[in-house]
Amino acid sequence: MFINLYSYKYNIMNKEYYNPNDLKKFGEITTWSKELGDRFFEYYNKVFDEGALSSREKSLIALAVAHVVQCPYCIDAYTKDGLQRGIENDEMMEAVHVGAAIKSGSVLVHGVQMMNRHDQLSM
């Protein structure tokens, strides 16, 4: 009985689209296309170096974007990254609000297109 229940659970686990452990395997994407994978990671790491923006600022941008693209792996990674950098929870939430504002703004600004089209089609 116990074994059946366990394997049942195990199968369900394998049928989930997102598995937190997959984040640790991110690097493995290079195995099916080494050159492109390596170039991607080189670029990725370079992007987060200190530059005109600090790595701390970049981490907060990444966190906001992670929410906008709704990537659970990135949310996991950049929440942890923020904690390691000593970024406070109010700073993290404000970043998420920036993402939310742009996302809702981008929906609403299309309302102008709707209004234009509406007026064009109407007498």
């Binding site: 640790k24 790595s55 701390r56 942890k80 904690l83 390691q84 950098r85 000593g86 406070e88």
Partner: protein, 352 residues
């Protein structure tokens, strides 16, 4: 917020063997993660041995006025273990015999030991030790009237103060160290500054220690130092010398927290994956010897808390043999991954 040590709560984890079992079982036994020994071997480090002894870290007792959630000592007001004077005298003899450069006094809150001041005076009088470090938790300076003059005692003997302040804002500090700890720590830091500590050119060194308030690794030590300096100076006019970013090792109360919060396996995976071979050469166990309140000898304060005594026949200060100690192998287990993760971690901060 916890109020008692694991020992007083009669927790299973207060038994060192239980902790060592946890650190060797599950993910490590199943081979999901390599043991620390296997990891060293995979980097062609078959054993690692100490270099010249420089630092004698003496834990003079486990009593503390605080009960921090992450404490690797399981210290607290209920811990009564105190180093007897005859062991202190033996420590002084060892400082001379072994030509120790630095003495690092820790606890618990070392200042609570009734012979703390006498011990410091004796070290200054009877040895050529260059530097005496006191790991002060800050709140002790304001805990009771009898401690109010400690800053002037520190100045008189030119003690190097290293103090924990888990964060430069209130919330995270109080969550880890207890409510009210942040405000009291700030007042204590102001008192130390007023006595000259941390001020450029005073020669009185005040370093702070950051450790993560949760199941994650510390960020870059220099970046954190800059953040601390900016915030503490702007908000409270506080200055200090250096910030040491320490990794929490998975032992004692931090291990208890990791298990209770279901973070244990993830945290172990994080520190294993962050293994940095270049940190190994500078591990603090390579130049430090840790002495317990009873006089037993350990490779470091963490091993002391796991009761992993130095690998020699008579691991006690009464039978200390510098040559034999020099040739010992350092006792390791999976908690050691905490010292080699990322930039590395020691009682003096990052290693690389």
């Amino acid at each position: 917020m916890i109020k008692k040590s694991l020992k007083a709560r009669k927790s299973e984890l207060s038994k060192t063997q239980r902790q060592l079992d946890i650190l060797s079982n599950s993910i490590f036994k199943k081979g999901v993660l390599p043991t620390f020994k296997e990891k060293l071997e995979s980097h062609k480090i078959s054993s690692f041995q100490p270099k010249t002894l420089k630092i004698l870290q003496i834990n003079i007792g486990y009593m503390c006025n605080q009960v921090c959630a992450h404490c690797h000592v399981d210290a607290g007001p209920d811990r009564k273990e105190m180093m007897p004077p005859d062991i202190m005298i033996k420590c002084i003899q060892t400082m001379n015999d072994a030509g120790v450069e630095t003495v690092d006094l820790t606890g618990g809150a070392p200042e609570m030991h009734p012979h703390f001041r006498w011990f410091v005076e004796q070290i200054r009088k009877k040895t050529k030790v260059k530097e005496i470090i006191v790991r002060s938790n800050l709140t002790i300076l304001l805990a009771n009237k009898k401690y109010h003059d400690l800053p002037s005692f520190f100045v008189k003997h030119n003690l190097h103060i290293i103090s924990s302040l888990p964060f430069y804002r209130k919330n995270k500090t109080d969550r880890q160290r207890g409510s009210g700890v942040f405000n009291t720590s700030i007042k204590a830091l102001q008192k130390l500054n007023a006595a000259g500590y941390g001020k450029p050119e005073s020669g009185l060194i005040l370093d702070l220690v950051y450790n993560p308030s949760g199941a994650f690794l510390p960020g870059d030590q220099n970046a954190l130092e800059q953040d601390y300096k900016k915030a503490l100076s702007k908000d409270f006019g506080i200055v200090f010398n250096q910030l040491f970013a320490l990794t929490n090792l998975p032992i004692s109360r931090f291990l208890d927290y990791l298990i209770a919060s279901e973070n244990y396996e993830d945290y172990m995976t994080t520190i294993v994956e962050a293994f940095n071979p270049s940190a190994v050469a500078n591990l603090m166990c390579t130049n430090t010897l840790s002495v317990s309140w009873e006089g037993y000898l350990f490779d470091c304060d963490f091993n002391q808390m796991l009761d992993l005594k130095v690998a020699v026949d008579q691991p006690h200060i009464n039978q200390l043999d510098v040559k034999k100690l020099q040739n010992r192998n350092i006792q390791i287990s999976q908690h050691c991954y905490g010292c080699t993760a990322g930039a590395g971690s020691s009682c003096q901060g990052s290693l690389t």
